[in-house]
Symmetry: C2
Subunit: 499 residues, 2 copies
Amino acid sequence: MNILYDERLDGALPTVDKAALLDTLRSALPDLDILHTEQDLRPYECDGLSAYRVVPLLVVLPQRLEQVQALLKICHAHQVPVVARGAGTGLSGGALPLAQGILLVMARFNRILEINPAGRFARVQPGVRNLAISQAAAPHGLYYAPDPSSQIACSIGGNVAENAGGVHCLKYGLTVHNLLKVQVLTIEGEYLTLGSDALDAPGFDLLALFTGSEGLLGIVTEVTVKLLPKPQVARVLLASFDSVEKAARAVADIIGAGIIPAGLEMMDNLSLRAAEDFIHAGYPAEAAAILLCELDGVDADVNDDCLRVEAVLKTAGASEVRLARDEAERVRFWAGRKNAFPAVGRISPDYYCMDGTIPRRALPGVLHGIGELSREHGLRVANVFHAGDGNMHPLILFDANQPGELERAEVLGGKILELCVAVGGSITGEHGVGREKINQMCAQFNADELTLFHAVKHAFDPLGLLNPGKNIPTLQRCAEFGAMHVHHGQLPFPDLERF
Amino acid sequence: MNILYDERLDGALPTVDKAALLDTLRSALPDLDILHTEQDLRPYECDGLSAYRVVPLLVVLPQRLEQVQALLKICHAHQVPVVARGAGTGLSGGALPLAQGILLVMARFNRILEINPAGRFARVQPGVRNLAISQAAAPHGLYYAPDPSSQIACSIGGNVAENAGGVHCLKYGLTVHNLLKVQVLTIEGEYLTLGSDALDAPGFDLLALFTGSEGLLGIVTEVTVKLLPKPQVARVLLASFDSVEKAARAVADIIGAGIIPAGLEMMDNLSLRAAEDFIHAGYPAEAAAILLCELDGVDADVNDDCLRVEAVLKTAGASEVRLARDEAERVRFWAGRKNAFPAVGRISPDYYCMDGTIPRRALPGVLHGIGELSREHGLRVANVFHAGDGNMHPLILFDANQPGELERAEVLGGKILELCVAVGGSITGEHGVGREKINQMCAQFNADELTLFHAVKHAFDPLGLLNPGKNIPTLQRCAEFGAMHVHHGQLPFPDLERF
């Protein structure tokens, strides 16, 4: 379905004898649940990025770690590729199956093994849902900070694989900053412990290396996460601006004033109007852009910060600043933001969500650049994103039923990501590279850097059996895709400098 | 000098023809400063861990990156080992030279390239001193958070290599949490950019992998660090306890109450008396242990937290809690702590500093265990450490002039580190493994994990030329050293459970 993707560029995929493999697995693991009919396999053909679909060779649903270990040893011995899947909510096709590979579903490992309030950690199986950890910790006044918008459904194993973020990662960090220890199985069926219960572990930092590696290095079998005490209070300010550039500059001003909001989100007119029509959040429909700024902590401190942020916003040219009067209004302000994607879905038959991350100071210029690219390519772009960390989610609106529109959307998406890289940013903040952005990785990294990635991959998985064709492109792919790499200091968009 | 160290266990070190190498370097790099006489080389024979001394084959002092690049290419072509050195303040022998290797001194790369207040970052050369960054950022109200006690002298390149911590890393994180981007040269002379100016970078997290790799993966050539706004106020509480176990439990109670102090330090009677005699900080000489708890931020918040911490300390059994009356007293309280090591140096001819890190909840039991080991081995141990992050610095007091005392100190040190590993901790928190703790790495990791470390090392440095014999032990070394690996859940110190 995706015109820019070509499987031949990922190296020779082996052909697997499905019937023989099924026999081998059944005799070695008689109580392992295996799906193998077209009808049973079809529901697993995609993850949260449904534009890409591949029916897997087999789906396995283990319930015990010994089954996973034995399965991996068999796959290793027979050189069968393995794609791991948690809840399947990923947005970059990281759990997209392979026609010649096994889809290893870890969803049944859903037990919370330990909540330790004194040590402020939780030890859980990989299939446990993100929100379930916070719910289990709530009686102790604790919670798990990273909150991807899919947190009601997504699993912690998938969060580790993708280094998931969320609205609050500006203050509380990404998944990698909230982990103590991860147990993994290698493709050879060996257990490894990465990290430790202590603050720091000697040797190379394999825990950080593994986090966000998108299933290329090993299978997560147990996760120990840090728990934080719940903030006493949270308040939200809503600021309106008559230009997106002004709103973007206000973001840098807030951070520059030494304030770290719990969340700092931006929506442009197209997205805020869509959200307002859908949710009736109370947004000012005429604003060119709004900022939502949440502050949390102890009461006195939050009040103080609210006053400081309000002053910064007014100086930055906000036409109106409103403090949510009560908890109901705070929740309503957030409801508009959290439903912005489905809201945009109501005003366009299809949309394509980007995930570029840029230095905060480049926000005004990049937003201006996206506006220009949008006009050039004749497609509307709605901007709704984590402004505080510079993690943008431009939504490209198109109609897949109009011939050529999907292709134009993809080309425009590629241009937007190249723009992010050109200002010193990256092609993905929290959604991962997966299958979707594999070509843009050629823009992000040069051949030396990609070679090093492959060498690291080789250290864990010499045969390349874990999730091939995702995250790290082959040099062959980058050669075919074209020399997109933007060298530092050579901006292809020199006019951005003036913002 | 160290009885437990045996170079033969690090694999075959090549023999280098010094005269021929000198000729090669002089003709290829005529303006490179090279030291080669015994007299010139001698000052470089050790870093901050002076118990280990090796005169290097050659010392080079480049001033331009092209010289470093050319030098590395020559070393790679001729298979000459390279040890990088910053300011030489490291405490684990990470920059200990090799008799058959080049010592690459990066101290002359001492320029601050950019202070960017809007982007809240500083871009500096690797030889820039830690404190110099904060000084350069001060006019903008910003500073660089990690503060190793050597910060007046140590260089940022060395901080990256060792993932340096400091008194304030409980709240502000280690070096790895305060980096945006690092430029490195590989042993093959290729430039790599790790990280990006944005919050997150796609692909594997090589920035985190590189940070703390102790010179085994590449040479740091440029560092972009995050800058933080200076806290408005800082206040310190001093609490006295009649037992170390009570003080240790109070540490967990403070963190358990949801308070993150800027610093939370502990000193036992032996170390606080030594410090008091030396500095006259105003410590209670009769206390079994004291805690220093610093709180920083905005005024109202800090006052509020001081009251909460005081209540927690009293409930935990503190016999006295004093708030530093003014800035002068606050500085005096810290001066005692910061001079504790030299103070202990005044009461013992020699001391050996450990750096084990343990889960906070294990503090009472481990302190008790250290007391027992101290009595068993007939050597006094002073405890002064970063209690908040569980990073302990037991100082073993001995007299090197008494036959056998150094050896007994080393054996006791090994036992203390094994104890840390047994409770789920690690053998080093912030000082690194270096040459010093290479044998204890065999206790920390099993053969599979060490094999993976070597595979990762191989991805960057296939010939093993960068800092061989440090950080990651060979399997041969671990086999000779003995099967020290402590498996999870098999505590060799079962009586610790009751604490």
